[in-house]
């Protein structure tokens, strides 16, 4: 599951990846003609809308890709950098950059490309950006107020507008296509081209078709996560789901046996987990099962994953989600953690005389009742020093 940094791609290798991403970026920008200021400012005077076409096509392509990857569980959006929104700073910065664009004829990315192929104006432009950043750095106490005000966090525009992600993406695509059409009209008018026939090359039609089909498949199908969580509210579905159980006794035995193959997935609240948690357990929630941390945990080979929660039903829901997400070797703690507590941790021999079978069980439980609390205590001390491992959002941005 993406992003591949930092697990599959380490931090050192990430720099090499950066280099390659940059090569691709620079190559395409130059091929598109972004290394000439004449083409870039054409956008603002109506004679050349190349920038708008490239820019919007790229934005829409990447956006659809991100939505599709996230939809099919290939990209954990909680770990992807979403530029934070500081509203006033974003607007003020954009206005200043716009002025820079019409005066300088480049933006930093295109300026670098221009400089790379020997454009002297590009080099001077980059020198200018250096001075601009320096001014900001030196005048920072003055700018800090605007820079840090109105922090809305890593919010995404469809959340701001209160519409669904699919609707927003659809609107943005419509807007882009509308802009393509409209700007072609302006361009022809400004350049005095009459009756230009819009030739639709087969390859573009094909590409667009594929993009639309892939995009729609993600947009029309209900979000997998939502759909699966909704399904869990259906009691019949949950009750009739084919489930493998593990008894309190077996779990207790495996814990005491220090079985290296077990992983306990604890679905109780953080508070309950902090006050009492079994050795080899990790806390997850039903929603966090969709994320990368859970992916790492549950895809370890040859591990037996036991879901526990206060009640058996919640544990079973975790079991079902994980099964549906394609993970294997799953069990549900029978009777839930409450049963485990009653059977093992707080075990008390019943008054009535046990049957022959029960004698063994009770003997085991009596032993477990002394050993398991000790193991829990040891585990707590061991974990107290360690930091909590949790995947963090990549810090990116300019």
């Amino acid at each position: 599951m993406g992003p591949l940094v930092p697990d599959i791609i380490g931090n050192e290798l990430n720099f090499i990846v950066a280099l390659f991403c940059g090569v691709g970026f620079g190559f395409v920008l130059e091929q598109a003609g972004f290394s000439t200021s004449k083409k870039l400012v054409g956008l603002f005077y109506g004679y050349d809308f190349t920038v708008l076409r490239v820019f919007f096509t790229a934005g829409v392509t990447a956006m659809i890709g991100v939505v599709v990857l996230a939809h099919f569980g290939l990209l954990d959006m909680n770990l992807v950098f979403v530029n934070p929104t500081f509203l006033w700073s974003a607007i003020v910065g954009g206005i200043i950059m716009g002025i820079g664009f019409v005066i300088g004829g480049f933006c930093p990315g295109t300026g670098i490309c221009a400089a790379a192929i020997g454009k002297i104006d590009g080099m001077f432009f980059m020198f200018g950006t250096f001075i601009g950043v320096l001014i900001f750095a030196e005048g920072y106490p003055l700018f800090e107020g605007v820079y840090k005000t109105a922090n809305l966090g890593n919010i995404r525009l469809y959340e701001t507008l209160g519409i669904s992600q699919s609707l927003f993406a659809f609107l943005l695509i419509l807007m882009a296509v509308g802009a393509f059409w409209f700007t072609s009209l302006i361009e022809n008018k400004v350049n005095g081209v009459k009756n230009s026939d819009l030739k639709l090359k087969r390859i573009y039609v094909l590409l667009t078709g594929v993009a639309i089909i892939v995009g729609l498949s993600a947009f029309i199908m209900p979000d997998r996560k939502e759909a699966m969580l909704k399904e869990l509210n259906n009691n019949n579905f949950v009750a009739s789901y084919n489930t493998e159980y593990m008894t309190s006794d077996e779990l207790a035995f495996r814990i005491m046996d220090n079985d290296a193959n077990i992983q306990i997935i604890d679905l109780r609240s953080q508070k309950e987990f902090d006050s009492l948690s079994l050795p080899k357990s990790s806390r997850l929630t039903l929603t966090s099962l969709f994320e990368k941390d859970a992916n790492k945990l549950l895809s370890v080979k040859n591990k037996i994953n036991i879901f526990i929660a206060n009640d058996e039903l919640t544990a079973k829901k975790g079991y079902i989600l994980s099964k549906e997400l394609g993970y294997g070797n799953l069990f549900v703690l029978q009777g839930g953690f409450n049963q485990f507590k009653k059977d093992i941790i707080e075990f008390a021999k019943p008054d009535k005389a046990p049957t022959r079978d029960e004698i063994d069980t009770y003997r085991f439980r009596a032993k477990a009742a002394t050993v398991i609390p000790q193991l829990i205590q040891e585990n707590k001390l061991k974990n107290a020093g360690g930091e909590k491992k949790q995947a963090k959002r990549v810090i990116g941005g300019c």
Binding site: G22, M97, G128
Partner: protein
């Protein structure tokens, strides 16, 4: 030999989108440009006036967020890649040339002054916008960041608004 024609803009956009998507999938972050300039500024000031970087707030906050050498930064490597990529593209399309491109109606000096001041505004604005056209607008659009898209509209809106006043530089 004449330079080759530029790529079809939609095709170029499609490829650019794929590069951006791959970047997000691999690294969890988007593309950028101005951030590397920021690293270069911090590194330069550290070399020229080390005591100043220990006192001034901007540099202190920067080193808190980015410990270690400021040039040992993802965006610096990425921008080195951009230079290589653009150079290769210029090479195969026959566009490598030391030229100063400007409208015939203005002098070279005017163009240079325009480029420097334009860059200055862009560099300054990119700090407020927390990214430039690449880092904030394009990458922001890909992940639908509110701030990124607001910045995008502000950049293009402002450029259209001010275009009239600077038309003599271009037309």
């Amino acid at each position: 030999m004449n330079s080759t024609k530029y790529m079809n803009p939609y095709l170029a956009g499609f490829f650019l989108g794929l590069v951006l998507l791959a970047t997000i999938y691999f690294t969890g972050r988007g593309l950028g440009a101005s951030g590397a300039v920021k690293s270069a500024v911090v590194a330069s000031v550290q070399t020229v006036a080390p005591s100043h970087t220990n006192n001034a707030k901007f540099y202190k906050e920067y080193s808190e967020e980015h410990p270690g050498n400021p040039l040992n930064n993802w965006l610096v490597f990425e921008v080195v890649g951009v230079i290589i990529g653009a150079f290769l593209s210029g090479l195969i399309s026959n566009r490598l040339n030391f030229t100063l491109e400007h409208s015939p109606k203005i002098s070279s000096k005017t163009r240079i002054a325009g480029a420097i001041f334009g860059g200055l505004f862009f560099g300054l604005g990119a700090q407020f916008g927390r990214g430039c056209t690449s880092g904030a607008a394009l990458s922001g659009m890909a992940v639908m960041s509110t701030g990124g898209i607001v910045t995008m509209f502000a950049i293009f809106g402002s450029a259209y608004g001010f275009a009239y006043f600077f038309r003599k530089l271009w037309l």
